[in-house]
């Protein structure tokens, strides 16, 4: 039923500009992205089942005054290895029309939405993960002129794979009150924002799920699950503090027992989040506390679909997302059944002309996190150790206008059982990242990395060389070598070209199997050797 509606909306969106006069035909923008990999046989690391994969995206947006409309089409003749299998084929994954005035926005069709920090609801797109759970339905947003009050109601069906699912639907609302402007004190240096949200999820089970649940769970999964949240934020000058509480009505929950046994039950969920920020001069710091209890919220209620796209809220890892190759080898994945933890960062710039800053300044970052699982969520409640902790230090210094270095150290300890055993996998990563500019447009960047570990795959080393010719070309070569265990090289060669809003990159080499994480959400990536071509163009 959705496809005829989609075609009708598409025809309307495309026909509209044609009826407008040539002098006032509005504005069309868009983007095209294509990622393709040809996989080569590799006896050492393995070869994906299909010899090639290709993910392709086209997005168009039309704007004319207060009216806008747009669409997104995706085409996966064969999804890239590691991407969710439900993506195979072609689909119109986004289609909308919207009226947007200063006070009111009315939108019909597909849309992305995040309420609060996303603990209660988040729909978003992440092409690294193959995730797009946009809602198809409608949303009305109202603002007062001074933005002191924002109210929103929404409803729709989440997208799963290439089309919206008709088995799950959401309805919700959100109210945000910026209290001082609301009471006429718009010039105050203080800010107090009070917000709240409600989300109601309606889910219809498949015949298979009904049979599975009747046979193993012994109860009926609720057809409707209500969630609610309250948020309060205060800021003054460089200081801000934000708190959020989320509650969820009884929902499907998998209780883990000893010896890998599982029991299904109905259980409510809740989450608490507190964030504190402070900044003064060239110093800033942030501290976050988060606690989760049965906060998994899936499009499909059962635990049968492992796809990262089967989600309706955002539960990212609390720790920092690593960007250097070796530092991201063994990432922590959120334990949404029950965990609590802290994460903090400090930034300081030693300014030019100071004793430590020297002639060109020096930047320091120190960050860390500490996460533990909640005992009731673990199979053995009497055994409770650390789930994850890390400390990360970056020191960035310019030695001259031509030469800059970054020294990075990351010390990580990750429990494979979320703390339900004494064993942790520790790894210490050291990186030296150096940039030398030969001229105003030609530069060379190198990375030297070493990972020291006595667990998992033991020691690794890695290096990268990248030569850039601004503003168009760069070429690079890199290698990750697991000299502590498998003795396998993961080499890669690449070239990239940019011209205005066009970017083309060609890469060849090996990719290690492991978790690919983006924004703290992860998917499994199999190992492969191949040649990849990526094109991005926005217009």
């Amino acid at each position: 039923m959705l496809r005829p509606v989609g075609i009708f909306l598409l025809a309307g969106a495309l026909a509209l500009p044609g009826v407008l006069s040539a002098q006032d035909r509005g504005q069309l923008t868009g983007s095209l992205e294509s990622n393709s990999i040809y996989y080569l046989d590799d006896e050492i690391i393995g070869t994906p089942a299909h010899p090639w994969g290709s993910n392709n995206y086209l997005k168009l947006d039309y704007l004319h005054g207060i009216f806008s409309a747009g669409l997104q089409a995706e085409y996966y003749p064969e999804p890239l290895a590691g991407y969710p299998s439900e993506l195979k084929g072609a689909g119109l994954t986004g289609l909308y029309a919207s009226l947007n005035t200063e006070l009111l926005e009315v939108r019909a069709g597909s849309f992305f939405e995040q309420l609060g920090s996303g603990l209660i609801l988040r729909t978003w797109e992440d092409r690294e993960l193959g995730l797009n759970n946009a809602l198809t339905g409608g949303r009305i947003t109202f603002h007062t002129r001074n933005r002191g009050l924002t109210a929103k109601i929404l409803g729709g069906m989440p997208k799963y794979g290439l089309w919206p699912t008709t088995r799950t639907a959401l309805a919700g609302g959100d109210l945000s009150l910026d209290l001082l402007p609301l009471f006429g004190k718009e010039d105050s240096d203080h800010s107090i924002v009070l917000e709240g949200s409600l989300v109601d999820k309606f889910a219809r089970q498949t015949e298979d799920n009904i049979a599975f649940l009747a046979g193993t769970a012994g109860f009926e999964v609720p057809k409707q699950v209500l969630s609610w949240s309250g948020r309060l934020q205060y800021s003054y000058g460089g200081f801000s503090i934000k708190g959020e509480y989320v509650g969820k009505a009884p929902d499907f929950y998998t209780e883990h027992l000893k010896r890998s046994k599982e029991v299904y039950q109905l259980k409510g969920g809740n989450a608490q989040l507190v964030e504190v920020n402070y900044a003064a001069g060239s110093f800033s710091g942030t501290l976050t506390f988060r606690r989760l209890e049965n906060m998994t919220d899936r499009i499909f209620l059962t635990a049968q679909s492992p796809s990262p796209a089967n989600t309706l809220n955002y539960l990212p890892s609390l720790c920092m997302q690593q960007t250097y190759m070796l530092a991201g080898l063994n990432p922590y994945v959120t334990y949404a059944d029950g965990e609590a933890g802290f994460q903090g960062d400090l930034y300081y710039t030693f300014r030019r002309g100071t004793a430590l800053g020297g002639k060109y300044g020096m930047k320091l970052h120190v960050g860390g996190s500490w996460i533990e699982a909640l005992p009731f969520a673990l199979p053995d409640r009497d055994v409770h150790y650390l789930a994850y902790r890390d400390i990360n230090i970056d020191l960035e210094r310019s030695w001259s206008r031509k030469f800059r270095t970054i020294l990075f150290v990351s010390i990580q300890e990750n429990s494979p059982t979320h703390g339900n055993g004494k064993r942790t996998d520790a790894q210490n990563v050291f990186v030296l990242d150096a940039l030398y500019r030969f001229s105003k447009t030609v530069s060379l960047r190198t990375e030297l990395q070493y990972l020291y570990s006595q667990e998992l795959t033991r020691d690794w080393m890695a290096g990268l060389v990248e030569l850039s010719f601004a503003p168009h070309w760069s070429i690079s070569a890199s290698d990750m070598y697991n000299h502590g265990s498998s003795k396998v090289h993961y080499y890669n060669f690449g070239a990239s070209y940019s011209w205005n809003a066009l970017n083309i990159s060609l890469n060849a080499g090996r990719t290690r199997e492991g978790m690919v994480c983006s924004g703290g959400v992860c998917r499994w990536q199999p190992a492969f050797k191949g040649v990849s071509l990526r094109l991005q163009w926005s217009f």
Binding site: P17, R25, Q27, L28, T29, G30, L58, D61, Y62, L63, A73, Y75, A90, F112, E113, Q114, S117, G118, W124, R127, D178, S191, S235, G238, S240, N277, A279, S282, S284, G285, T286, T288, Y314, P316, M320, Q321, T323, D345, L346, Y347, T349, R351, K363, D433, L435, R437, K440, T441, S443, S468, A470, P471, S498, N500, A501, N503, G519, Q536, S538, F539
Partner: protein, 163 residues
């Protein structure tokens, strides 16, 4: 599907020539207050929008370099640079802290928490910079950052002033 793509691309080429106005989207400043992109248009001077993320090292290099260039910038071309973070709720607090702790004097940090500007500008990878003229029409854009790209960017800004 292939026919649809071809039709859409032909359709796109007809309209690409149209001037692109900065889309009207709501962002946040460091204190969480709402800032609309239309308020960046002052009808007097061009401005630069740099889209960045805390996990994007080229983004940080580009903004660091622009901050270093600003003290030597010709004051007769008053330059406004807005660094718009695409970080989501996981790392937005880190983006706020980083924007202040990295000492980007002369650069205004804004935050695109729901990725509305990212989608409206069709940004598929970062960094991407946009130069808008004094009326908010797109003058120049560039994907990615290589050391030295700032020279081309600043050259385009001066051209935009002369427009």
């Amino acid at each position: 599907m292939k026919k649809l793509v071809v039709i859409l691309l032909l359709f796109a080429t007809v309209f690409v020539a149209s001037g692109q106005q900065i889309p009207a989207v709501q962002l946040q400043d460091a204190s969480g207050k709402a800032v609309t992109t239309s308020s960046l248009v002052d009808h007097k001077t061009p401005f630069v929008v740099s889209i960045w993320m805390t996990t994007c090292k080229p983004c940080l290099k580009e903004l660091d370099t622009l901050a270093e260039e600003l003290p030597d910038w010709d004051a007769s071309f008053p330059l406004r640079i807005y660094a718009v973070s695409m970080d989501d709720s996981r790392s937005q607090k880190r983006a706020v802290a980083m924007a202040q702790g990295r000492d980007w004097d002369g650069i205004t940090a804004l935050f695109d928490v729901n990725a509305d500007l990212r989608r409206a500008l069709n940004v598929s990878s970062v960094p991407q910079v946009f130069v808008y003229d004094k009326e908010g029409n797109l003058f120049y854009t560039h994907i990615g950052y290589r050391p030295g790209d700032e020279q081309e960017l600043l050259k385009q800004v001066k051209k935009c002033f002369a427009r």
